[in-house]
């Protein structure tokens, strides 16, 4: 058995130093000088040196060995230690170490049980007398768990490239709140169906359509796809479930055919594969992923105890509201009754009558006032007209008398009374002797009549 302490010293060991391995040997040799040896007798360190020289040959450098990882123990410093083993008829094991600088580029996590191919060289470590394989490169071996891991990653990339996963949030459908029938794709045997049955019985018993499927092993993907397809159009929601298991056990739920069938299902699908920590590719294609089959059953149906409470709540609410509406209407009717009461109506009529009378009186008195004021106005005007007319008449009479006087004074016959005569000839008044000539016949108007005369001489 290798002791712990010397192994720790390998931490500073590096491939690049393999040529100066003597530096590791000297501390062993110098403080404890051995007794003088016989020729052909080697010290342990010389043996170690010789082994190292022999190991440094083509057959043991840059070689690839296949096997399974066991006793994997990563060191805090970053170096990785494990044994590569071979199981079968001839059990075999070799100690391996992968130095930090080589380990930092690992493409996948190393776990016990992984089938790997390791490439590197065999070395001998004299302080512990151990032979070990120094790994430069490590790869998953075909068919091993790591191979499956890589296969899953490859499928993931392929399904992502074709748009099958992840199902966009907007395309995640909610199953009906009250499904009438639930479809289950799982193994006919096993606890999954029982778990689902228990939850549904308790929460919301309903018809379950089981599409039994082989959930692991060769051909499982065909079985699952066929089961999903067989439920289309027959149920409201499908639970695709499998109990917990190893990565390999759950591996079929990464299969592209299964993932596509889940993505293309016309019925919403709840995926419940393995446990909380297990994520398979169907989880990215389903409408909802839940950690366990029981959780799936809880997701697809409501709890009838809660539903019963809700119904009670509705009953109370409907009762209360109806009662309140009836009470409100009672109040309204009572109010209306009061309003149509006969005494109330006659009071109202009296009041209206009073109002009518008041209005009539107001109209009448307003009319009278108006007439009186008009009458006053009329008499005032009459007075003014009368006064104005009297004055005018008086003035006119005076003027008339004056005029009469003037007219009377202007009478042409008035002077005749005083002895004057008005001389006319041929009807025209003669005012000058120049109008006349001898023998003209004249008419002389006197106060009491006319006489004719003849002009004898113009003087």
């Amino acid at each position: 058995m290798a002791k712990k302490a010397p192994v720790q010293t390998t931490l500073s060991f590096d491939e690049s130093e393999s040529g100066s391995a003597s530096t590791f040997i000297s501390p062993v040799r110098d403080p404890n000088p051995l007794p003088k040896k016989e020729p052909d007798v080697l010290t342990v360190s010389e043996l170690g040196e010789r082994i190292r020289d022999i190991l440094d040959c083509d057959g043991l450098t840059n070689i690839t060995v296949t096997g399974e990882v066991t006793g994997y123990r990563p060191n805090a410093s970053g170096h990785l230690y494990f044994s590569l083993t071979e199981k079968g008829d001839t059990d075999a094991a070799v100690s391996c170490v992968m130095w930090k600088y080589a380990a930092k580029n690992l493409a996948f996590p190393i776990k016990d049980g992984l089938a790997v191919n390791i490439t590197g060289h065999v070395d001998f470590y004299p302080p512990s007398g151990r032979m070990q394989f120094i790994i430069k490169k490590i790869e998953p071996a075909a068919g091993g768990k790591t191979g499956l891991y890589l296969q899953k990653e490859q499928w993931r990339k392929q399904l992502e490239a074709e748009g099958t996963i992840p199902r966009p949030e907007s395309e995640k459908r909610s199953p009906p709140l009250f499904p009438t029938c639930v479809g289950v794709v799982t193994s006919k045997t096993g606890s999954v169906l029982q778990d689902i049955r228990n939850v549904l019985s308790r929460r919301y018993p309903l018809p379950v359509l089981l599409a039994p499927a082989q959930v692991q092993g060769a051909g499982a993907e065909v079985s699952i796809v066929s089961a999903i397809e067989s439920l289309q159009g027959k149920v409201d929601v499908i639970i695709v479930a499998r109990g917990g298991g190893s990565f390999e056990d759950l591996f079929v739920f990464n299969h592209p055919d299964v993932v596509r069938a889940v993505r293309n299902s016309a019925v919403p699908i709840i995926s419940a594969v393995g446990h909380e920590t297990d994520v398979t590719l169907v989880d990215f294609a389903s409408d909802r992923r839940v950690p366990t089959p029981s959780a799936a059953a809880e997701t697809v149906v409501p709890d009838r105890a809660i539903l019963a409470n809700t119904l009670e709540e509705y009953r109370r609410r409907i009762h209360d509201r109806t009662r309140s509406i009836i009470a409100e209407n009672h109040r309204t009717v009572a109010e209306l009754k009061l309003r149509v009461d006969p005494s109330r109506l006659s009071r109202r009529l009296d009041m209206m009558q009073q109002q009518t009378a008041d209005l009539a009186e107001r109209i009448r008195s307003a009319f009278v006032r108006r007439i009186e004021s008009q009458r006053d106005l009329l008499s005032q005007m009459q007075e003014r007209i009368f006064k104005g007319a009297s004055a005018k008449i008086k003035t006119a009479s005076l003027e008339l008398a004056g005029e009469k006087e003037k007219i009377l004074a202007a009478d042409p016959k008035k002077p005749l009374e005083r002895g004057y005569a008005l001389v006319q000839m041929g009807g025209a008044v003669v005012r000058s002797k120049n109008q006349l000539k001898k023998d003209d016949r004249l008419t002389l108007c006197l106060a009491d009549g006319e006489v004719t005369a003849t002009v004898e001489k113009i003087i």
Binding site: P176, V208, S226, R304, L311, I318, T322
Partner: protein, 68 residues
């Protein structure tokens, strides 16, 4: 008289919700309120009966691929 098809649970709950909403509406007449109340009680009784009678049955789907 032809019988109208029985509404499913979801439809009954939707109708109940609608009845409760209408009863909350101040415009709802007393005649309607009484009718809504009767319908509400009928639906609640049906829903309760549905929950009480609910039964789990597990049937295996018949697959053509298997029968072939």
């Amino acid at each position: 008289m032809t019988e109208t098809p029985e509404p499913n649970y979801e439809e009954m709950i939707t109708e109940l919700r609608d009845i409760a909403r209408k009863l909350d509406d101040a415009q709802t007449s007393v005649e309607d309120a009484v009718k809504l109340h009767a319908r509400g009680m009928e639906l609640i009784a049906k829903c309760e009966a549905f929950l009480a009678k609910a039964e789990l049955t597990i049937t295996e789907v018949h697959r053509e691929t298997e029968s072939a």
